[in-house]
């Protein structure tokens, strides 16, 4: 699971959970692999992200590195910033671990990079 995916996932579908966002990450295995850098893609996706959530997620798995805590102005033209964002969004991947609902504490397992968000019937 990439942090890009994490940025979009919620546990809102759980019964009694209102926001369910952001999910906590408990990472057991984290893999960093090289992915082609596409500055255009990164700069277009930044407005769609919750930057705080991204930063905290990266921090919680020890990969915040030099990533600024807030989106800088004029990021579209700042290759260095986009590269850092790209690294965190695309290259860092949680392979095994858990996602934790912030409200109910319900844990969702991540195995082989695929988060399992299935619910029990009584949780829906």
């Amino acid at each position: 699971m990439k942090l890009l995916t994490h940025n979009m996932l919620t546990s809102k579908c759980l019964k009694g959970v209102n926001v369910g966002y952001p999910l906590g990450i408990l990472a057991k295995d984290v893999k960093v692999s090289e992915v082609d850098f596409n500055p255009e893609f990164v700069s277009r996706i930044i407005p769609k992200l919750d930057w705080n959530v991204l930063w905290n997620a990266a921090d919680s798995i020890g990969h915040s590195g030099e990533l600024p805590k807030a989106v800088i102005s004029d990021y579209e033209n700042n290759q260095e910033f986009l590269k850092k964002a790209h690294h965190v969004l695309m290259e860092v991947e949680v392979i095994n671990g858990e996602l934790i609902c912030p409200e109910s504490g319900r844990k969702f397992p991540i195995s082989d990079g695929i988060p399992n968000m299935l619910l029990n019937e009584d949780e829906v």
Binding site: L4, M8, L9, P115
Partner: protein
């Protein structure tokens, strides 16, 4: 003579049922092309496009150079005369056309093994339909054509197995067509090199996936209207936007894989989810293949292929998606038909339905449906074994993969026994057997029914995650279309429940009267129109049906339904 028009050649391509319209759209998008005729299963056109462009078409099955096309004469004349006329087609009339087509044919990669046009091995593939078939069975037709070809090209030889040239003859209703194949028999345009060849027929056809994606982008509201469908791939608007596309029931990820290969350099995030972990793993493998494939192809290219979609996959129930509200721009999915993939009903689901009028109506509907489905299914299975345009419900020709393929629940079944924990290996194994038990014929009724019951919850959840102004493209089987439409109607317009019984009762009536599907469709559509004008409460978004395209998946009828989430009180 050597001007642009002289480089224009006549072609036709064969297309999956219902996709002809998409195919001609695709051709026109490429430019330098005139579509001259669209008939059932075929699109005729003339084009000066380069060979590699033609071979990159995504919707057609196969491409042919057109040698001859004329109104049918085979049955309007006495047999003897007809045979003479048929021989004339090859030996005299189209002789020069044949030369010309052969010259062009040499530009196609499939002719690369041919060193000398005088020593060509060929075969004639014939098809005749209906009445013509009785008088001219395909084998007979083939003999005549092959004889004529050997008459004018005495140095040619026949080779049924591995011919260099395949000559296609179709005698259908009112036309006789002769063409030269531009791609080898076992490698049609619709074959995607990145897909495992043995498995592809159990999946949704990539051609259909292309059509679905085309629909998904076609009327996307925030894009300029003049750029429609895949045409807008190259529009600058798309580059300024970032689209999130979701397939909530991705199964083996065919739609996502096709999307990756079409939209690879675009600002698009693909999300895929399925209820079955194994399917998600297959999907992730398939998508990875596509990306690696495009990477190899572009090794020398400075354009970097993106590798960004691989792991935007997760396991979840499409009725309880782990996504934020209004976070998805386009939903493209293949809704389970309830034949091979179906859902385990939620306990809650039945009560949800019982509490609404919709259920009772739906149940009434179901009294008719099972019979229909049963017939459909028993027709389909034997015929499917040989067909290649097979989708979901193919029987099980691939024994090894059987368990995997069967297990695809298409994001619809909460499987109580495997919900919370990561399934361990033994659990994985226990599944197929359980599922297989349910494959009993009788239980297929339950499959269709449970899929129907699942639709309202599915639509409700999709509606939640879909952005206003967004678009939803759902492929459903013909017999579930009404249920989908009434589910959409019911769920996305909660303030207006009075209309649903109306609508459904009319539908039921028309089923009783055994009216054509078209009639049913009209009833539903008119109801939408009436209702639109009636809604006058608070501003709200609802799903408005935009387009419907009936398509054939093997022997199965399906419909591509396109909905737009639009504000009704604008």
């Amino acid at each position: 003579m050597r001007d642009a028009t002289s480089m224009c050649y006549d072609y036709f391509c064969t297309v999956g049922g219902g996709l002809e319209h998409f195919c001609s759209k695709e051709l026109l998008r490429f430019g330098l092309t005139n579509v001259s005729e669209v008939s059932e299963g075929k699109v005729f056109f003339s084009s000066s496009l380069p060979v590699h462009k033609l071979l990159s078409l995504r919707i057609p099955e196969r491409l042919f150079l057109l040698v001859h096309k004329e109104p049918q004469f085979l049955i309007s004349h006495p047999m003897r005369k007809a045979i003479l006329m048929l021989r004339d087609v090859i030996e005299r009339d189209s002789c020069s056309k044949l030369d010309c087509s052969l010259k062009k044919w040499r530009d196609f990669p499939c002719s690369s093994k041919c060193t000398n046009l005088d020593e060509l091995s060929f075969r004639v593939s014939c098809k005749s339909y209906g009445e013509i078939k009785r008088v001219f069975p395909p084998a007979f037709l083939g003999k005549i054509i092959a004889g004529s070809l050997l008459n004018i090209r005495q140095t040619w030889s026949t080779d049924l197995r591995n011919p260099l040239l395949e000559v296609l003859v179709h005698a259908k209703y009112d036309t006789l067509i002769v063409g030269l194949a531009c791609c080898p028999m076992n490698f049609p345009l619709s074959k995607r090199p990145y897909l495992p060849s043995t498995m592809s027929s159990t999946f949704l056809r990539p051609t259909v996936c292309s059509a679905l994606i085309d629909c998904g982008l076609s009327t996307y509201k925030k894009l300029p209207q003049e750029k429609k469908g895949l045409e807008m791939i190259n529009s600058p608007t798309l580059n300024k936007q970032h689209l999130v596309i979701l397939d909530p029931m991705c199964g083996s990820g065919m739609i996502l894989a096709e999307a990756v290969s079409i939209l690879k350099d675009k600002n698009i995030t693909l999300l895929g989810s399925d209820i079955d972990r194994l399917q998600v793993e297959i999907a992730s493998r398939n998508i990875l293949n596509v990306e690696n494939h495009s990477k190899q192809k572009k090794v020398s290219d400075e354009l970097s292929p993106c590798k960004q979609c691989v792991s935007n996959l997760f396991v979840s129930d499409a009725r309880a998606l782990p996504l934020k509200d209004n976070s998805v721009d386009v939903i493209i999915s293949d809704v389970p038909f309830g034949l091979k993939h179906y859902s385990y009903p939620w306990k809650k689901e039945s009560s949800y339905l019982e509490s609404t009028k919709y259920t009772s109506e739906a149940n009434e509907c179901q009294q008719f449906e099972p019979v229909h489905c049963y017939q459909l299914e028993s027709n389909v299975i034997p015929l499917h074994a040989g067909g290649n345009e097979v989708q979901d419900i193919a029987p099980k020709p691939f024994i090894k993969l059987d368990a995997t393929v069967e297990k695809d629940a298409k994001g619809t079944s909460p499987k109580p026994e495997s919900v919370t924990q990561i399934k361990d290996a033994s659990e994985e194994v226990s599944h197929p057997s359980k599922r297989r038990k349910l494959e009993d014929k009788n239980n297929h009724f339950m499959g269709v029914d449970s899929t129907k019951n699942m639709l309202p919850n599915l639509v409700k959840e999709l509606d939640r995650v879909l952005k206003s102004g967004g678009q939803s493209v759902l492929l459903v089987s013909e017999n579930l279309k009404i249920d989908l439409l009434s589910a959409v109607n019911k769920v996305t317009k909660p303030d207006n429940p009075s209309r649903t019984p109306d609508c459904s009762s009319k539908i039921i009536k028309s089923i009783i009267n055994d009216e054509a599907t078209v009639a049913i469709e009209e009833v539903v559509i008119t109801n939408y129109d009436e209702s639109n004008s009636k809604v006058s409460t608070k501003s709200q978004y609802e799903w408005v049906p935009i387009e419907q395209h009936p398509v054939k998946l093997g022997m199965l009828d399906a419909v591509i339904c396109v909905f737009g989430k639009q504000c009704v009180n604008e």
